[in-house]
Assembly symmetry: C2
Homo-oligomer: 217 residues x 2
DNA sequence: TCATAAAATTAGTCTTGACTAATTATTTTA
DNA sequence: TAAAATAATTAGTCAAGACTAATTTTATGA
């Protein structure tokens, strides 16, 4: 289909486009890929020529219909492989992302669909992100975070926003996974820290940033 | 680990080294990869510097201990993925090679071993080639072919030598797969064609070349 | 053994996708 | 609004890994 690089740019642009009202600038793409902005400008030119994106100084970068379709397919593959790695091969939460980064680029007309079937058509990946369907439809993502809870309320962890391994390892340490029950005990108004009870156990304090990265049901 | 290209060269050299008494020349490598000999010379230099191969004009190219170890691992990954694609995802015999060519390059310390376990530690891949073990040991390959059968004898198909999709598709047409029973009815002395009965059905005539590519038990 | 063919090698080029440094645009902010 | 800061872009470079064309080595066979 496309080169490794092209696919990574498409995916990165797709991910950035998930943030509502966010203007996708060359710098933003550069940061998300760890590349130099100059390199990004080159690739923007290339992808524009291939009609996968449109770039307008005012609006920033946008995926075209074709670009969106392709990006969604890459994300679909990534998330399906994550499910495979976790459920079938027994990897941990924080190990699967990097491997899926490589697996997602394997292109074969029916691979994603066969894998999807083999896995039982999962709707969400192990990080709770929605897995695009074969027809390109994307299940609704979770959007409420821990910080939206009211005092005393409890919830189930549905997904996480940050997927860095430092965050995922922190979660592991706190014994938090998909489905874990969390109750909000107190909000510290000084810095919006959250005092929570995990699975009914003793209270733990976490930062606002932490809370914003926990999506709940 | 290494670049895509480096890995492909290693694997190609390993495959060529399987043919006994075969001198691995730049031209041979070039042909097996579909590359230009000039490109091969460049890569021979590079791999020699990395101490993965040794090149001697008299002896040709040989894998060093390290090179052999790495090549075996790549072949291990390739063959394990082939088993996965056939057994778990339901691909056909002739579709899996090309996909495994991509999957084999995914490097993660434990991926091959986890996959191996998940598949039940298979000894041979769907083409009947031995799957190197985690410790680098390679199960004994099959070495007797259809042409070694005596008149009237029958056998089981254990593997195939040629893995081109034209051959594999021909096999599919003849309804021959791993495990299929074949009886030798007659050898035509003129051109060594073989008259065989597949799974006890009516007789079929195949060429000597065909027979040499069917490994049997 | 010498001429010819084949193989190996060298030299130089190309493309991809990165980079740095320099320049130009655009935002901020004082 | 002008100066300063930030962002975007251009120009030029680099490495990997392929190529072609030319040259040198090595084999082969008359």
């Amino acid at each position: 289909m496309y080169t490794l690089s092209e696919e990574n740019y498409l995916k990165s642009i797709y991910r950035l486009a998930q943030q509502p009202n966010f203007k996708i600038t060359p710098t933003a793409i550069a940061e998300s890929l760890g590349n130099n902005p100059a390199s990004v400008v080159d690739m923007i030119r290339k992808l524009t020529e291939k009609q996968l994106i449109a770039y307008d100084k005012k609006k920033g970068v946008e995926l075209t219909q074709q670009g969106l379709k392709d990006a969604v397919l890459i994300v679909r593959r990534h998330r399906l492989w994550e499910v495979f790695l976790l459920e079938k091969l027994g990897y941990h939460w924080d190990e699967i992302h990097d491997i899926a980064e490589e697996l997602e680029h394997i292109s074969n007309a029916t691979l994603a669909d066969r894998l999807d079937k083999f896995l039982g058509f999962p709707e969400y990946d192990p990080h709770g992100d929605p897995i695009p369907k074969a027809n390109g439809k994307v299940p609704k993502p979770f959007s409420v975070t821990l910080t939206d809870l009211k005092m005393g309320e409890s919830c189930r962890v549905a997904a996480v926003r940050d997927t860095s391994s430092s965050f995922l390892q922190y979660l592991q340490k706190l014994d938090i996974g998909i489905g874990t029950r969390i109750q909000l005990i107190e909000k510290i108004s000084f810095d919006n820290s959250l005092v929570i009870s995990i699975s009914g156990k003793e209270n733990t304090t976490v930062s606002q940033k932490f809370g914003e990265n926990i999506l709940i049901d």
